[in-house]
Symmetry: C2
Subunit: 187 residues, 2 copies
Amino acid sequence: MALDHAILVSLLEKPGSGYELARRFERSIGYFWTATHQQIYRVLKRMESDGWIDVRDVPQQGRPDKKEYSVAGPGRDALSAWLGEPIEPESVRHDLAVKIRGAAFDDPAALIGEVERHRRAHTDRLAHYLAGEARDFGEPGRPFDGPPDAERELQHVVLRGGIAYERMMIAWLDDVLATLARFEAGH
Amino acid sequence: MALDHAILVSLLEKPGSGYELARRFERSIGYFWTATHQQIYRVLKRMESDGWIDVRDVPQQGRPDKKEYSVAGPGRDALSAWLGEPIEPESVRHDLAVKIRGAAFDDPAALIGEVERHRRAHTDRLAHYLAGEARDFGEPGRPFDGPPDAERELQHVVLRGGIAYERMMIAWLDDVLATLARFEAGH
DNA sequence: ACACTCATGTAACAGGTTACATGATTAC
DNA sequence: GTAATCATGTAACCTGTTACATGAGTGT
């Protein structure tokens, strides 16, 4: 049920169309939650008929018209209620770990290329996160001015989580590569 | 489709019943893949009818009889084929990150208890992993004896991944707690 | 008696994935 | 012309979750 809430949070941060939400789920929110446009349109339709969100037709020039969604009272209440409920520390799913343990019954060295591919994907994502952090949270001339901005600081701490995750993964994949190298032919 | 492969790997490591597999998915394999017994029985039935695995009725005394599954030729081939295919670096799903960004529109400080609960769950898991590592990979009198054992070393590197993940999470949750504390009432 | 472990399942439903479909505008 | 972006959807299917169901044996 958390896709509903992820969409509500995104719409609170900024109202937008299903298409725009789908794009956000490829970027910022996509760092910790994925969803395709098909899923998003389905959930938007349900939340609209439940009165959680409002729609507004927005005519555009040079582009197709769009429907802009924003969070209504009941949607906000639903989000609040969910925030108050405890959630279980999430279950993990690492295909790569299954492959690594499975490689013991095949050719471990054959997995090296695959692990390297994943390592590249993670270094790319790390670079992307770090660029985003510098852009959005670089605060060049903003030392001690005013009260903390919750939205901004909470977005930043989530991004720091993504950065920590990518760094951890890169270090671990290096460990995996070193381990696999011990099983290469001729050794 | 990777539950199939996770089960195949587990059965290659050691043949067993659906019930035993379900228990393994709460422990060792469960570190990186979760599955309930209902899912497992469904997949076992399908893999058996596809000839990927063999069944053997094992009568037991003092306990109900069980069906012991083991991997057959076609199952091994299917696993090999899957190991050779590239997989996409996995998509993440962090309910807690959704909550943290959502807290900006509610009461950020109200999330502290929840984050502390998660932190406790992760320190517990870390302790559990470390105990397992000491037990299974402590190698007290085993410095340079013989060739590397692929199954054992690959299980160990996957476990090290779990340990790195829990350590990263604990450090990040501390960061989150420090951030949330800035929004507490009276500050 | 009651709860727990071992052991195997069915059924209904919710959620996620993949494929297909349409149509306008902009850039090369 | 061809591809890419913007924009919204339907349909079929596969996976995962939750609830229900049964039944023997062990421990308190």
